[in-house]
């Protein structure tokens, strides 16, 4: 798996040297936080309780959105590198196929983790309360990482299924936004209509969101309603999602090589 590290290193190097990409990747999440943190809070805050608590409540959803977008972008880069032939260098090198996928997924996730920290920081500026002990922080970052690996796996799989960017985006769109909206990110679980609540319970994103709410964004719990997904379940589901996602990407990638 050392090769995964080498590939991660190359992708991160490119990211660091690409001014537009690094700055752009930071601006987008900040925009979301501002829209929700400043814009929406004045609309919804007073009705739901406190504006500050609202921001704490909504921040996990923004993190989820950012991770989903990051993975989608990463899947597209993967597709382009496959089509351009860059991946061939890895295929004839003495490295495991899984390393190629892991290295790319890891670089997607590193960027997403950086963005997540920025989101939390900006969130504080607009009123969220972010806190917890070291274990909470580690737990939060682990949850983001695991969820991200899961969706990165899906994105890499989609990027291996087709050579056409349009088709890729069509496939990924079927999952990306629904994963966010059909979860408890925007509304408390117990306030959702029954069918939607059930969909949300099967959606890994809900587990990321509630996991974050119970670690570093506990201020948002006041708005999270009566039903909370237990913390142990959050870790379990995200871990399972990570494994399933990466295995899917390996399977689809291998099939694309025959």
């Amino acid at each position: 798996m050392g090769a995964a590290l080498i590939i991660w290193n190359k992708q991160m190097g490119k990211f660091a040297r690409n001014g537009e990409e690094s700055v752009g990747s930071l601006i987008q999440p900040v925009l979301w936080v501002v829209i929700f943190g400043v814009g929406m809070r004045s609309l919804l805050g007073p009705t739901l309780g406190s504006g500050d608590a609202y921001v704490s409540f909504i921040l996990p959803g923004i993190i989820a959105l950012t991770v989903l977008s990051g993975a989608t972008g990463g899947g597209m880069t993967w597709l382009l590198e496959r089509v351009q032939g860059i991946v061939k260098e890895y295929l004839v090198a003495p490295i495991a196929r899984l390393s190629i996928l892991l290295g790319n997924a890891a670089s997607i996730m590193t960027k997403a983790l950086i963005q997540s920290v920025v989101i939390l920081a900006v969130g504080v500026l607009v009123g969220a309360t972010v806190g917890g002990d070291a274990l909470d922080w580690i737990g939060a970052l682990v949850l983001v990482l695991l969820f991200g690996l899961g969706f990165s796996g899906i994105a890499l799989a989609a990027g291996s299924m087709t050579d056409d960017i349009g088709v890729y985006h069509m496939m990924i769109a079927l999952l990306q936004l629904p994963m966010l909206f059909l979860s408890n990110a925007l509304y408390p679980l117990d306030s959702l209509p029954i069918w939607l609540a059930w969909v949300a319970r099967f959606n890994p994103a809900s587990y990321l969101v509630d996991g974050l709410r119970q670690t570093v964004l506990t201020d948002g719990l006041t708005m999270a309603g009566g039903e909370l997904l237990p913390l142990w379940a959050c870790f379990a589901v995200c871990a399972g999602f990570a494994v399933a996602g990466m295995l899917l990407s390996l399977r689809v990638f291998r099939r694309s090589l025959a």
């Binding site: 190359k10 190097g13 490119k14 032939g85 860059i86 260098e89 003495p94």
Partner: protein
Amino acid sequence: MTKTNGYAIRTSALTKEYEQGVRAVDALDLVVEANSVFALLGPNGAGKTTTVSMLTTLLPPTSGTALVAGSDVLDDPGGVRRKIGVTFQETVLDDALTGRQALDHHGRLYGLSRSARRERARELLALTELEDAADRQIKKYSGGMKRRLELIRGLMTDPEILFLDEPTLGVDPQNRARIGDHILRLKERRGMTVLLTTHDLDEAARLADTVGIVDEGRLVVVGSPDELIAEMGDDSMHVQGEAPSDAFATAAGALDFVTEVVPTDSGVQLGVDSGDRRLTEVVRLAAEVGYPIEAISVARPTLGDVFLKYTGRALRD
């Protein structure tokens, strides 16, 4: 040097079959000796790239076996990958990296130490005169520079076998000659086996110790360029005429100085011992059998003529 009875590459009935029984590569029995340059010569679509893809473990064969540097491509692909270097037909360089970064990254994938990477990169960049451009982004390189970088990237790991798929495709004549020189120089210095594919006869004739002509997925004939050309006679006489040439071809074949008779779309090609001397005899014969000659030319035979003989078609660029 890992050998399989002295062979760097040995395949047995190597086949790649797609839907509806379409065979891109058809029961190929290829033998490449160690420390030689082998050229697979054939037109586009002959199956050259597919063959290389199978030998470099990019594509699994449908049937048959292939031993590359002593390792089986299906049973031990890792073993194969460790010992080979590959330069692909398309440019597969990551534009955002500099030349030096691309070489370093490649070396790391194969487990080369930092000092080995630095040293080898320096040496190879000097060899192909790319030192000045080494720290510039590849997206700023010219086509010829990218091809040269591709070539040395394959060499970073000091492979036992170097695969070059159409190394000079789309490259201008000047760079084509330079790349060809690099390949020859490399073979001498490192004692490496090179398998290259091309549809350029001159390239094959100049660089290869052994040429294998492929057409429609099949290996049609194998030999050194000199051997193959010698079979064609000392000179090649191209006779062009409007009428059907069967009578003329038969009559010409009976002449004692004619070693080869190959019908073409536009007439007949004859292998003779000396074109200049025999010209009048051939013309007289044509008149005798009533074959109207439109044009007649004499040339040293080329691999193109060899291709024509074995496949019945001309090797078009």
